[in-house]
């Protein structure tokens, strides 16, 4: 730089002579030590004018200020790179030693993984199931020890090893950097498994003695709680698949249930709702209000909503498991209400009368009716503004709750769609022909997408009607009239289920216990090997104790609403035009769900009991005689008899 500077300022000697001298100076300069070189430059600078030094300065500055990451305070350099995605972070680490240093010492790979775990339920679930959550959200010291242990050291060795390291973050950097792509691979594999229908099947045979069938279930990492047709609730150990506990109390089939970390609420064809202690199995409360089978219930945040074959919906306030007060009764459906769901804004109900009705959660005020299904609606889920419903017309419909528009009709099931769930990615539905279908929600929501691309996979293992299912990113758990609960595991696919089935001489899905055990062991061995192979597949950490499905949490003791009517007072209440639902096809199937009800020609009046101004419902009349004539009433004789044997219902509610 001095050279060019001198060149431009050259005076006195000619260019040739200058160049010669310059070259020889530079050669001499190169032979000197750093210190000597600096000394020379200093001497030269001292001989120059202020103006010249200013010019020199402008040459030096860009040489120094070339790189933000290097020149910024490290905290800022880290936060620049913290906002990058994985690919850019990989590129950034390869820019220079300095950049790599910032990535390593900012723990940026670890932070990136932690960010995904915080924001994405798939990552969160995987971190627990694969055990690498233990490397996250911990101190630097702990991380070093855990990583060293994952690489084969004992705890003592790891602690000693930590003290020998001068740079723990450097040591951890590679671990997290390698962990990231392994997690990505794992996630891709799971997605592939869903797409290709690759799963490991586990089967629980409920071995019910008299009436067989599993109506409802909910699961978490430790247990599956199921409601059976034989009037019991059975709690299964998720690992051993053995029945841990049987809750006896209902005098009719257990049609619906939900649990949280404290209680189980169950509804039955004995017309009662019972509350149980989820830990001890003790029966805590019985809610007697509905006059016929309780077909579905949901509870959340101190609020319980039940619906019944008696066509009404009851909204309860749960102060505690012992103190549950009836708040409102919602009337308007003209046939059995098969399903309810709600959040803080809306209560959504669906009925054999082919309609979905939307009500306000806070005031219980009726809002609108969604028409579209051509036969009764069996199932529905509602969340984040979207309703997905399944019907006896064999279709699934997606609805926008705000405007009531039907966004999409999914066709593919060949019989009544009995159960349905969806999350951010998928819809999973189960039908009366035993088939479970997995649908791509994103494609379904895209109005331009061709309907043939929406169904990802059809799963055929049940030999009877699918009654209920729940799923998450890794598995589906389904229950059926065939008296089994199936666990479809897309995370640990292990031994291919189809091979197993062939070995079992064509018995559909009969995977025996021994094989399952073997699979389990193989799976554990596999995990152990993975652990040694790389950091991603560390030893399975015990999963956390979280209520399954993330559906609800009951918090008793919420502020009490006015109780408008006594609990025993509503049955057969005026205002409802009774529709004869007694005659229909007796299908000997035991399904309590009301499939389809002929609609009455009268002008239906729906009222929200307890309201001073009764809401006039605007229901479109279906004057379709043919359709009405086909209405089926699927009824279980046993259950009906049991109902009739019930003593007159008094308020048996404990306070």
């Amino acid at each position: 730089m001095m050279a060019t500077l001198s060149l431009s300022e050259s005076r006195g000697i000619n260019v040739e002579e200058f160049n010669d001298k310059l070259n020889s100076w530079c050669e001499d300069f190169d032979t000197m030590s750093d210190r000597q070189q600096q000394h020379i430059v200093e001497k030269l600078l001292n001989r120059m004018s202020h103006h010249q030094i200013g010019a020199v300065d402008s040459y030096i500055k860009p040489l120094l200020q070339r790189d933000f990451i290097v020149l910024l305070p490290r905290r800022l350099a880290e936060s620049v790179l913290e906002n990058l995605d994985a690919k850019t972070l990989a590129m950034a680490s390869a820019v220079s030693q300095q950049w790599r240093f910032v990535v390593a010492h900012g723990m940026l790979w670890r932070k990136l993984i932690e960010k995904h775990v915080r924001e994405d339920s798939l990552w969160r679930g995987l971190s627990e199931k694969r055990g690498w959550k233990r490397f996250l959200f911990i101190s630097t010291e702990q991380a070093t020890i855990f990583i060293a242990m994952a690489r084969g050291m004992t705890k003592q060795e790891a602690e000693a090893f930590r003290l020998t390291l001068n740079d723990q973050l450097e040591y951890q950097h590679e671990f997290y950097r390698d962990l990231y792509p392994q997690i990505r691979l794992d996630i891709n594999q799971i997605e592939e498994n869903w797409k290709n229908g690759k799963f490991r099947l586990q089967r629980i045979n409920c071995q019910s003695e008299n009436s067989k069938g599993v109506y409802c279930l909910q699961y978490d990492d430790h247990k599956i709680i199921s409601g059976l047709r034989d009037n019991t609730i059975k709690i299964w150990n998720r690992n051993t698949l053995q029945c841990r506990q049987t809750l006896i109390g209902h005098t009719g089939s257990v049609l619906c249930l939900q649990y949280d970390e404290k209680i189980i609420a169950s509804g039955s064809s004995d017309a009662t709702v019972r509350i149980w202690d989820v830990e001890t199995g003790e029966q805590l409360n019985t809610l007697i209000h509905h006059s016929e089978a309780v077909l579905h219930l949901r509870f959340h945040n101190g609020m319980l909503v039940t619906c019944s074959k008696d066509r009404s919906i009851a909204v309860w306030t749960m102060h505690s498991s012992h103190e549950i007060d009836l708040r409102r009764v919602l009337v308007g459906h003209r046939a059995a209400v098969n399903v309810v769901d709600f959040d803080d804004t809306y209560i959504v109900s669906a009925s054999g009368d082919r309609t979905i009705k939307v009500w306000r959660t806070d005031t219980c005020e009726f809002i609108r009716t969604l028409n579209g299904h051509k036969r009764g609606i069996a199932c529905l889920q509602y969340r984040d503004g979207l309703i997905v419903s399944g019907s006896s017309d064999n279709t699934i419909r997606l609805w926008d709750i705000e405007c009531g528009a039907c966004l999409r009709v999914l066709e593919g099931h060949e019989e009544l769609v009995r159960c349905i769930r969806f999350d951010g990615k998928r819809i999973v539905s189960g039908a009366y022909d035993g088939k479970i279908k997995v649908w791509d929600l994103k494609i379904a929501m895209d109005p331009r997408a061709s309907s043939s691309t929406i169904c990802i996979k059809t799963l055929v293992q049940h030999s009877g009607r699918v009654f209920r299912l729940q799923f998450d990113e890794f598995q589906i758990v389904s229950s059926s009239h065939d008296d089994t609960i199936l666990i479809w595991d897309f995370l640990n696919t292990g031994v291919d289920v189809n091979n197993l089935l062939q070995h079992n001489a064509g018995v559909v899905g009969e995977v025996d216990q021994a094989v399952q055990q073997q699979q389990h062991q193989q799976h554990q061995q596999q995990q152990h090997q993975n652990l040694q192979a790389g950091p991603a597949a560390a030893i399975m950490a015990p999963p956390p104790n979280i209520g399954g499905g993330g559906d609800a949490a009951a918090i008793p003791g919420q502020n009490q609403q006015h109780q408008f009517i006594p609990p025993h007072n509503n049955a057969g209440d005026n205002n409802i035009e009774m529709v004869d639902i007694g005659d229909g096809l007796n299908n000997d199937d035991g399904d309590e769900m009301e499939e389809d009800i002929p609609l009455h020609n009268g002008d239906p009046i729906a009222a929200v009991l307890g309201f001073e101004n009764h809401q006039q419902l605007n229901i479109i009349n279906h004057d379709d005689e043919d359709d009405a004539g086909q209405g089926q009433n699927l009824e279980d004789d046993d259950d009906v008899e049991q109902q009739q044997q019930l003593p007159p219902q008094n308020a048996e509610q404990h306070h």
Partner: protein, 173 residues
């Protein structure tokens, strides 16, 4: 040459005169702008405010850079105070490229951007620090190593063997 830039002229408002590193250029600002700098805010809290105008020399910040800082703060003078999330799970949502902050910072040269981030850091103006980091992130994102090196005028200092090793890491495939 003395440039006095009057940004606020309503009476009865405490004024502050910031003087840039050239000892000449002055910026007159009010509290709404001053308070965005945690450093200046703290400094002024222990100052006697009876004067109509308090002079603050900022020897470390060039006139051009200080002008940019004030231009940024001026844009937010009527906004709610910026509260960056704190704690181990703190996570900022990244502004879009069309966000005013990003557009403003994009209009600066590399040198100006570097200066303004350093000045923001010196004065502790959280909003500007975060915005600067996001802007630098955008400059890096979806770039190859060679592009990043070019943009940041960084020459790779890995040995050939190290380069080779890096290219074989799983993330590259």
């Amino acid at each position: 040459m003395t440039a006095t830039i009057e940004l606020e002229s309503v009476p009865f408002i405490q004024k502050f005169k910031l003087i840039a590193s050239d000892n000449k250029t002055e910026f007159i600002i009010d509290e709404k702008i001053l308070n965005q700098s945690a450093v200046l805010k703290e400094m002024m809290e222990i100052q006697d405010k009876s004067d109509t105008e308090i002079t603050i020399p900022l020897n470390q910040i060039s006139a051009e850079c200080l002008g940019n800082v004030i231009k940024f703060c001026k844009h937010y003078e009527d906004s709610e105070p910026y509260l960056p999330p704190i704690g181990p799970t703190a996570c900022l949502s990244r502004p879009s490229q069309s966000h005013w902050d990003m557009v403003f910072l994009k209009s600066l040269s590399s040198k100006q951007l570097f200066d303004i981030i350093n000045a923001a850091n010196f004065l502790n103006i959280s909003r500007l620090i975060d915005a600067g980091c996001f802007r630098l992130g955008y400059m890096t994102e979806n770039r190859t190593v060679e592009e990043i090196r070019r943009i940041f005028q960084e020459s790779g200092d890995f040995s050939a063997v190290e380069e080779e090793q890096i290219r074989n890491e799983p993330l590259w495939n």
